[in-house]
Symmetry: C3
Subunit: 342 residues, 3 copies
């Protein structure tokens, strides 16, 4: 594929500085781009060393100038460059059509231009929108609905009656709609609580590889529009995550917690159950969140790494902290007495 | 399905207050149940607002009264309600029979009423009990034994010679019996230690989605009766977990550790290797357990989340804690001297 | 299989003390080995209780003596014993040949003695070396290369153009080459950044079960020779891990971080992005690493578990640490004044 800078500028709402007829055949990294490729120079550190790239064209911020270079100037160079990359590298799809090697149940409804690979299992009464791509090893349970332009990568499991929105991407190995972790104690034993609900993932979400998003006890576990999760994320039954929130790798969210829109949960954070996290909340890496968080708040926890020898001495003192505090208060009182007696 | 309250009461060992001939067609949540459904009102907060539900019948504790309502009174309403739910919502199964689309090795022994889906792989000399359900994408290795009424969900892997008990549920994507993480150092390199043992999961266990339970170096990794694990749990080689213990999501248990019965390991906790945790132990979320724990003990670790600004100041002080303690002791000595000289 | 001690000694570069014609039919644990098996007695605790085993032969350190026992003395008994174990228990393989139940794309190149199971999907232009074993449920994307003697266990996903070295083992359910977690903000929304790079795993690596190793944005995510990862490990886009490093279960490594050779990252540690960890670094369990680490350093973080009652009091004091430090400094000043005024 070959694109003229004029076409690229139109696509991203930018303007060409230099030769609008200049064509590029790909998009690449700043350091390695060739003269027939476009690269991103969005951040100051790239703009300062603009001579350090052989790229034939550069996606740059508005007003940036570089004599003799072909530039596409745009308000949000990073997003514009991602856009161009997606034109050169569209999401891969299995071969067009419905493979005879797929096993498909009764009551199947499928839209235009499906790409269903062999070794796909589709249960009863499944509905797929237009241009849905399903890779080998995917399991799609009874009554599942998948919207237009969704991509289901290999070895994904979607259990019965879950609902997947348009343009959703489910990365390999992810499990949607397994039963939530709910048991009723009966003496020392636990009796399984059947999970009659489902999972709904709204449009434009991308769910990472090897995620688990459990079905609700009743009602639904709900991932709202535009949410992005990284790999190995656990989302328990009846959780709701608001629009455009970001959940980084290995985060765990316990049951019935509600998270607002545009939140960021950093890697390995753990969120207890039945909490409310507001909009635009930021949770630091490895944080253990045991209380609800107001909108806009930034919370952290966990110790950053230190030399192991330091750590050994620190952790000996940590359990003595309350005693330290008590001794300090005692000293303050006694010193005050001495000072007053002077 | 329609059930009279009299039948429900008999099933759960309860008594009907109101109309024993009243029938319900389902069980639902307190807030959303319809007049032809039964709901759970086990906890005081529901009992106090009993008029807040439209449910046609309620599962309630013994002695609870509510004039004009149909009640099923029982000693353990939550467990009784789970029981009723499981009658209305039995665990789903693939189509009855053995699909011709399954690949089945020699020496296969299978009990009554199997439900083996297409795209299931079963190795040599596998034995399945009665009514075993195996979903698409499951791999069952050579010599595996699976007991009556077990359910193997999609894309589960069970490696050679592992033993799965009766009524066990393996949720999607879980891996049973991969080699443990054992290597012998040889200079800077590591030589793989073959794992000749296996994994045994006893009756009535439920293993969550995307768990890894590694096979033993020698002998067996052993999950005893009634253990329940949540999603993304890691259980290393040669671990033993006692009866009816509960392992919450993303917990990791290192090699050769032995955990007693009826323990609770909360989410994201990490347990070091070669430890002994007694019966009825509780480990808090994100706790790092480096020492054995006596029966009945409750241990915790990790900092709860705090405002990020506070956290930034706190973590600067933490490595100075030993110095703080030393300075405090010095102050105490000097102050004592002053006080005595008075 | 039957092996004479003389043959075993030759295999591991050791010497026989006792009867070199004595044969063993297997290798087993010290405590359970039978008279026709060899066991390992490498560590002092075993050497001290050498009469506690019925093993017919023992792999022991150089110079160790035990009258009347058949010994194989060797410099590194643990590695030698692992070697012997691997002879008695070679890595299992699917049935020889290419199953007609595998789906194989065009441009397929395969070496000698493949073992490709049914229900394997192989895309276009895939190259496999000699003796590659691929288990059911594995997905091998377009343009993937897999070296000689590699083993791909069930339900593994290898996305397009990734490169797997010789003798590599990918344990069940692992996902190699899913897109990295990269998005360009566009207002509140996020635009997906296509990932045009790949993953390269060099010779002799073993990747645990249910790992995720993401493909690079540009270039490659690179796991160098001899790296071993445990289960449920996450390795983000553009990470490099040096030769013979060890990554324990549930570790997460964020994007673009570079780790040196022969490092050890203990369980559940989290490493932030864009860091450099040197050679021979050791990171403690559950550590949160936010800064680069020099070669040879040992770092830790996280609190070890303590009684929950202690913990409740400790965590109340932790956020007050900066205030405690300030009050301590104030006391020191005031006490000094008093002392000088005496």
């Amino acid at each position: 594929m070959e694109l003229a800078l004029a076409a690229i500028a139109q696509m991203v709402g930018g303007e060409v500085i230099g030769d609008p007829q200049k064509t590029v055949v790909g998009a690449a990294a700043f350091e390695t781009a060739a003269p027939d490729q476009i690269a991103l120079a969005g951040a100051p550190r790239y703009l300062k060393q603009i001579d350090g790239t052989r790229a034939g064209a550069l996606m740059v911020p508005l007003k940036f100038e570089a004599a003799g270079r072909n530039l596409v100037r745009v308000g949000n160079p990073a997003a514009a460059f991602a856009h161009v990359l997606s034109v050169f590298h569209p999401l891969p799809r299995p071969a067009a059509g419905i493979s005879p090697g797929a096993a498909i149940g009764g009551g199947f409804s499928v839209g235009l231009d499906p790409a269903i690979a062999p070794m796909v299992f589709i249960g009863e009464n499944v509905t797929l929108g237009d241009r849905v791509a399903v890779y080998p090893g995917a399991f799609i349970g009874d009554g599942v609905f998948i919207g237009d332009d969704a991509t289901i990568f290999p070895n994904v499991t979607i259990m019965r009656r879950c609902r997947i929105g348009r343009r959703v991407i489910l990365n390999p190995g992810t499990v949607i709609g397994a039963d939530g972790f709910g048991f009723a104690p009966e003496g020392e034993r636990y009796r399984k609580i059947p999970h009659t609900g489902s999972v709904q993932i709204d449009d434009d979400c991308e769910i990472g590889a090897l995620n688990t998003i459990d079905r609700a006890t009743f009602g639904k576990t709900w991932i709202k529009q535009g949410v992005k999760t990284d790999n190995l994320v656990h989302i328990a039954h009846n959780v709701t995550i608001g629009e455009n929130s970001v959940v980084v790798a290995q985060v765990g969210i316990s049951g019935s917690t509600v998270i607002g829109r545009h939140a960021v949960l950093a890697g390995q954070a753990g969120i207890a159950g039945h909490l409310t996290l507001g909009d635009n909340v930021t949770v630091g890496p490895q944080a253990g969140v045991g209380k609800s968080i107001a909108s806009g708040a930034v919370v952290s926890s966990g110790l950053p790494a230190m030399a192991h020898r330091t750590w050994l001495r620190v952790v000996r003192e940590v359990p003595r902290l309350p005693e330290l505090a008590r001794r300090l208060a005692d000293l303050e009182k006694r010193l005050k007495t001495l000072e007053e007696e002077k």
